[in-house]
């Protein structure tokens, strides 16, 4: 159990600034996900917390103690790696035993041959064996104890890696894309299991991923990271519904959010591509702005509707539960993705003209530079 604080962390490799003055505070027992596209510095950040990489400047504080110069092995954190990084020459049981032995036994008690003569060792070993067995039971890998990692499937290796992190009861877990090597079905399953594990252990989890589904489903809070900066740090629903800027809005959500240009007048009224909208700015400012709205907040309208968007279907994605239509708007080159219930769009064909409406209260406004603008519905 630990709270972790990062203050002004920056990291450069040669001239390449990977992390730019980053602050993040992680509460005790929280499950926080650092989400970002590959190459945004999120893994580097995790390694800085772990102590495997040293920051160029800034402080890492774990439980109020500054650990900048504390070695990885002494920070009492556990890490699960993307490649699992199990010791290939040791059995599962021995793999789980390694961290325990290193922490609980003295140097003398780990010394080969000599250690047989130390009186306390055998009782300690029994205790450690029990702990290993407990962890194995929690993860349901007791039947694999004698196997080598090479004889395990990806999912089983993943469990062992989690087990190895778990056995020594670290103050926090760090996970570096632990599920990205698993197949889709197993990934969904392990997502639930890791969440469950977090509920059981009540320990701080820092989870790095590029998969927004993992971030949205598992985390208490998530930090969206891009180009070495944390753009937004909030609960998943807040980030999904009120992104601070267009970058975050475009990164979170699949399929991607629709963005259209719009005009705002001095009274705060908004017109989008010639259509007046029942939405206004909280702080009126004349100029051009952007409107973002998610595919699920659009709908197909009947062909006799007025005051709506019109466009030609260019692509149709049928996911079974939903159908996504990619539409080129009539007026210009703007594109839009529309989600529809299957029965409404079943006979829509590529090349058809459709009319599209949206839920105005879900529309978000952004400045030209991407900053989010507060809006209110006209009543």
């Amino acid at each position: 159990m630990a709270e972790i604080q990062l203050k002004g962390i920056s990291k450069s490799f040669d001239d390449n600034k990977v992390i730019k003055s980053l602050d993040l505070s992680i509460a005790n027992g929280e499950f926080i996900t650092v989400l970002g596209p590959s190459g945004c510095g999120k893994s580097t950040l995790l390694r800085i917390i772990a102590g495997l990489e040293s920051q160029s400047s800034g402080d890492v504080i774990i439980d109020g103690r500054e650990v900048n110069n504390v070695r990885a092995s002494e920070r009492d954190l556990a890490m699960v790696f993307q490649s699992y990084a199990l010791y290939p020459h040791l059995s599962v049981q021995q793999n789980l035993m390694v961290p325990l032995k290193l922490r609980r036994l003295s140097r003398l008690e780990r010394f080969p041959l000599l250690n047989w003569f130390l009186p306390k060792r055998s009782s300690k070993m029994i205790e450690l064996n029990e702990k290993v067995l407990q962890a194995a039971e929690t993860l349901q890998i007791t039947h694999l104890m004698e196997r080598k990692p090479g004889q395990l499937s990806g999912g089983q290796q993943q469990r062992v890696a989690v087990g190895r992190a778990m056995v020594r009861e670290p103050v926090a877990f760090l996970m570096d894309e632990p599920l990205s090597n698993l197949d889709a079905a197993l990934r969904v399953h392990m997502r639930a299991e890791i969440s469950e594990l977090h509920r059981k252990l009540k320990t701080t989890f820092v989870y790095v991923t590029h998969d927004q589904a993992e971030a949205l489903t598992m985390s208490d809070r998530m930090a969206v990271m891009m180009d070495g900066e944390i753009l937004q740090h909030d609960t998943p629903s807040e980030i999904y519904n009120n992104p601070v800027n267009l970058q975050v809005a475009e990164f979170i959500g699949s399929p991607k959010i629709n963005v259209l240009p719009a005009e705002s007048d001095s009274k705060g009224g908004i017109t989008c591509m010639g259509l007046p909208i029942s939405l206004s700015m909280k702080t009126p400012k004349q100029g051009s702005i952007m409107l973002g709205f998610r595919p699920e907040h659009t709908e197909l309208l009947s062909s006799n509707s007025n005051n709506c968007f019109e466009g030609k279907i260019t692509y149709k994605e049928n996911l079974g539960s939903d159908i996504y239509l990619h539409v080129n708007l009539k007026e210009d080159q703007h594109k839009m993705i529309v989600r529809s219930e299957p029965d409404k769009a079943l006979d829509a064909k590529i090349g058809d003209m459709v009319k599209i409406g949206w839920m105005v209260d879900k529309v978000m406004a952004f400045e030209r530079n991407g900053q989010s603008l507060p809006t209110k519905s006209k009543s």
């Binding site: 990084a85 290939p88 290193l102």
Partner: protein
């Protein structure tokens, strides 16, 4: 038509390989064959591979005043008995084992941490150091033999095991080979070990060493073969003391002890000296080839 040319080229390949194999095997064949035959058979090049194995009488044995019955035996027995009796062959073999094993053990002790540092740690000047390692690979032993000898002589170490072992304890080849292998071990594994609480030295011995066994085995064979067979260096630093001689050096001494045409016992001695290596190679053949190619690993 096509098939015939293919067959032709296959046959061509095999002919070349067979000729090559014969060239390599022939001396071995002669060595083993000579070690079975009587002196007269060796002289007249008769008797096939095994020789006729007719009873023969050892003249020197008679001269020593022993009875005729005692001195009459099969040529093969004569050759091998002479090999072990005329020279302290077992002593040479033991010396060979002591020297090659201590060289290898110390080489590993030094090369593994070096290779780990060069492959996985970041420190200032690492590339320069690695460049030096590569550079040292290019230095022939013979070029530095004299200064090495002088240094050992200054420390009074000539005619000791130390003189045979110390110059070889730092194997740049070993460092290079192991470094290349360590490069293929994922960083995550090392980071995981660090998170588990291992010190850097524990990582070398408990994580890197066990995963590098194939490469280490290849290195072991290179090292052991080279130093078991080494004639040049022992010849320089061991000048008098027979108790320190390694097998190849012993063999040379053996030749000058016996009268010039005693090829039978000499070849018997040579066979005994070569045998451990051949047996070791046959036992470890698969791992050895695995280690040298270093592909298909992981």
């Amino acid at each position: 038509m096509k098939q015939r040319t293919k067959l032709g080229s296959e046959a061509g390949k095999h002919i070349v390989l067979i000729v090559g194999a014969l060239v390599v095997i022939l001396p071995f064949y002669l060595m083993i064959s000579f070690s079975f035959k009587s002196p007269s058979e060796i002289q007249s090049i008769s008797g096939g591979f095994f020789g006729a194995q007719e009873m023969m009488t050892d003249h020197r044995c008679l001269k020593a005043g022993r009875s005729e019955v005692e001195c009459t035996m099969l040529p093969i027995v004569y050759n091998y008995r002479a090999a072990f009796e005329e020279a302290p062959l077992l002593r040479y073999l033991l010396n060979g084992v002591i020297v090659t094993l201590s060289i290898f053990a110390i080489q590993v002790l030094i090369a593994l941490p070096c290779a780990y540092a060069l492959a996985k740690l970041k420190f200032w000047g690492r590339d320069v150091v690695f460049g030096l390692v590569i550079f040292c690979l290019l230095i022939p032993v013979h070029a530095i033999a004299l200064p090495l000898y002088l240094m050992l002589a200054k420390f009074g170490l000539t005619n000791t095991f130390a003189a045979l072992v110390i110059p070889w304890t730092i194997s740049v080849f070993g460092i290079f080979l192991m470094r290349q292998f360590f490069k293929t071990i994922p960083d995550d594994l090392i980071n995981a070990a660090r998170m588990d609480g291992m010190s850097e030295f524990s990582i070398v011995w408990k994580v890197m060493l066990p995963s590098a066994i194939p490469a280490l085995l290849a290195f072991a064979i290179f090292s052991v073969v080279a130093h078991w067979n080494d004639y040049y260096w022992p010849r320089i630093v061991i000048t008098g003391d027979r108790d320190l001689m390694t097998p190849p050096l012993g063999l040379r001494m053996f030749k000058s002890d016996m009268d010039g045409n005693e090829y039978g016992p000499m070849m018997a001695a040579a066979t005994v000296i070569v045998a451990p290596l051949v047996v070791a190679f046959l036992l470890a053949q698969r791992r050895f080839i695995e280690g040298i190619t270093l592909t298909g690993m992981k």
